[in-house]
């Protein structure tokens, strides 16, 4: 961008706030406080990464998607297949998951460019459904409804084996989440990220500023797919199993719910939403395994009608009152 403009405000937003340092202490504290629940905590970190990936495309670029699980699932299967073939190195698996999901994202991004919100909802859902149906049919490769087994992971960096208590898995998930979060944070505060927000706010004015709208949308959609794919890969590696559920419609719908519950357009919203949703899911389905969906639906309606900003919106209001 060769334009000169006063960007002190965006610079300030790009700096790390004290509260953010505090936030990232929480996963470390959680490791020592809840050593029994590391499996759940790893799941939270994976879902958080998945939510961050949706936030990139929905919260920043304003692309609605009802089929984001497509990329999560593709990543999960890619990592699983690679490990099944004997290439069990975790980092290599994640890279593969990201690349394959990104490729699928790049190809399908051209479908998403066209049309209104409604068309996008339909097309994203259609793509995810097609992948689900294919995974169901290709039992020889994916295991179909029975899931994919025999995913053997090598130790991380050849040093740290995945243990029974899930310690390595947890640290691995949180580290990946943090690194990718940090990168996403850099990206959304860069001129590229700002142009995405511009596209979301007024798609007709951005070309006048010289922003290639379609190229930006393709780029961010692909990036979101890479992130989702890595999240899927993490799930495969830490559970050493792939269920066809990774591609299901409920996964996409739940993710949307998580992000909206947490608040869109802040990256932290997705992480908070994931932590609260997964914890709630875990306890509510313990107390009331059959009917927890009822409370989930009620919560969703409540958020849409009365708390549209989600948790991050509520926190911002509180912070403003205090200041």
């Amino acid at each position: 961008m060769s334009l000169t403009f006063d960007n002190t405000r965006s610079r300030r937003a790009a700096n790390w706030h004290t509260a953010e340092y505090g936030f990232w202490m929480l996963p470390i504290v959680a490791y020592f406080v809840f050593p029994e629940n590391l499996a759940l905590l790893s799941q939270i970190a994976i879902t958080a990464l998945f939510a961050v990936s949706l936030d990139l495309i929905l919260g920043y670029a304003g692309i609605v998607s009802l089929g984001h699980a497509a990329f999560f699932g593709v990543g999960a299967y890619a990592a699983g297949l690679l490990a099944q073939a004997g290439w069990g190195d975790p980092i290599l698996g994640l890279a593969c998951a990201g690349v394959v999901a990104g490729l699928v994202g790049w190809i399908t991004s051209f479908l998403v460019l066209r049309g209104t919100d409604l068309t996008r909802l339909m097309v994203t859902m259609g793509v995810a459904s097609m992948l689900y149906v294919s995974a169901n049919k290709l039992t020889g490769i994916t295991g179909g409804l029975d899931g994919m087994q025999g995913v053997d992971m090598k130790p991380l960096f050849g040093q740290f084996a995945f243990d029974l208590y899930g310690k390595t898995a947890y640290i691995y998930c949180v580290a990946v989440l943090f690194i990718l979060f940090w990168l996403a944070r850099r990206i959304v505060h860069s001129p590229f990220g700002l142009s995405l927000q511009g596209i979301r706010q007024n798609v007709f004015r951005m070309p006048a500023l010289g922003t290639p709208v379609n190229a930006r949308l393709i780029a961010v959609y692909t990036l979101g797919a890479v992130y989702a794919g890595i999240a899927g890969g993490l799930l495969t590696q830490t559970t050493q199993f792939v269920s066809i559920d990774v591609l299901s419609f409920s996964r996409s719908a739940e993710l949307l719910l998580i992000l909206v519950l947490g608040g869109t357009g802040s990256l932290y919203g997705g992480i908070l939403g994931a932590a609260i949703f997964m914890t709630m899911h875990n306890y509510l389905s313990d107390i009331d395994p059959q009917y927890w969906q009822f409370w989930l639906g009620l919560l969703l309606i409540f958020v849409v009608l009365f708390a549209r900003g989600g948790i991050m919106g509520a926190l911002r209001t509180v912070a403003k009152r205090l200041a």
């Binding site: 049309g115 409604l118 969703l300």
Partner: protein, 285 residues
């Protein structure tokens, strides 16, 4: 021939269960993913009346429609109307919330098993005609579906109610200025949409089954029909349903390896060529 006939029947069934959505989504511009929940309500009303109170099958259909329409009116007055002006995303989230709640509620009252349906003898069995095996129930579906399509097309395009509805959707303020009671038109339309959903749900039990997961299992099909047909267009929905039904059945019959794939492929291909659907008006909002 038999395959083609089954394709037409399955297309008509698609039309029956999704035409209600074409009314709410297409005419009122509300992305109501909870459409399947109203269809499920209709299905359960039908099954309960039939199995517990021995009401004849054909008599359960209007009752199912009335019950669902009442439920629709209550929900429209209390919740849906708050979201008419909201973004599509908000409407999607809200109606997914309703879907989740309806699944749990159905589970609570009826358990998670498939509901049995006992058809009257005159709708059972099949006969042989012009080289095809015609299932009596499928023929019944086709007749009902075509009659419904004609009636709806007339209602939307040929009556004063249809005209005020289209006016109320296109420009609520101007419609109010002309003395149209926009609120009442919307309530009536929403009730119509839910009643149609219930009819489709009840008629669909024989071929689709009925369990608490119904709203989520078939959500994709309803939306595909509306997306392919173009919103707010009865004729479009009918033609799209027929195309999808025939492609689906023929696809499953002739190329079973990719069978279930075909319907999505048709949808995505259509939306690439025509983002507004086959017969859609260019986007109004």
């Amino acid at each position: 021939m038999t395959v083609l006939f089954d394709g037409v029947a399955s297309g008509i069934l698609l039309f029956l269960i999704s035409v209600g959505l074409s009314v709410t989504l297409g005419l009122m511009n509300f992305v109501n993913l909870a459409h399947g929940a109203f269809a499920m309500l209709g299905g359960y009303v039908c099954v309960v009346l039939l199995n517990r109170f021995n009401v004849p099958f054909l008599a359960t259909l209007p009752i199912a429609m009335i019950v669902a329409a009442l439920a629709g009116v209550v929900l429209e007055r209390t919740l849906y109307r708050r979201l008419y002006g909201a973004s599509h995303l908000d409407q999607v989230l809200f109606s997914i919330g309703l879907v989740f709640m309806s699944i749990s509620t159905a589970n609570f009252f009826f358990g998670d098993h498939q509901q049995p349906l006992h058809l009257p003898p005159m709708l059972k069995g099949q006969f042989h005609l012009a080289g095809a095996d015609i299932g009596a129930y499928r023929l019944f579906l086709i007749v009902v579906g075509l009659a419904l399509a004609v009636a709806l097309q007339w209602l939307v395009a040929g009556t004063k109610f249809g005209a005020s509805l289209r006016a109320a959707v296109d420009n609520p303020r101007a419609a109010r200025g002309l003395g149209i009671d926009v609120d009442r038109v919307f309530v009536a339309t929403f009730a119509l949409g839910t009643a149609l959903a219930a009819l489709g749900g009840a008629l669909g039990i024989e071929m689709l089954g009925l369990d608490p997961e119904f709203p989520i299992t078939y959500i994709v099909y309803f939306l595909i029909v509306v997306a392919v047909g173009g919103s707010g267009n009865i004729k479009g929905s009918l033609i799209a349903s027929l195309i999808l039904g025939i492609c689906d059945v023929e696809g499953k019959y002739y190329v079973p390896q990719i069978g279930a794939f075909v319907i999505y492929l048709v949808m995505v291909a259509t939306l690439i060529v025509r983002p507004q659907g086959l017969f859609g008006r260019s986007a109004t909002k």
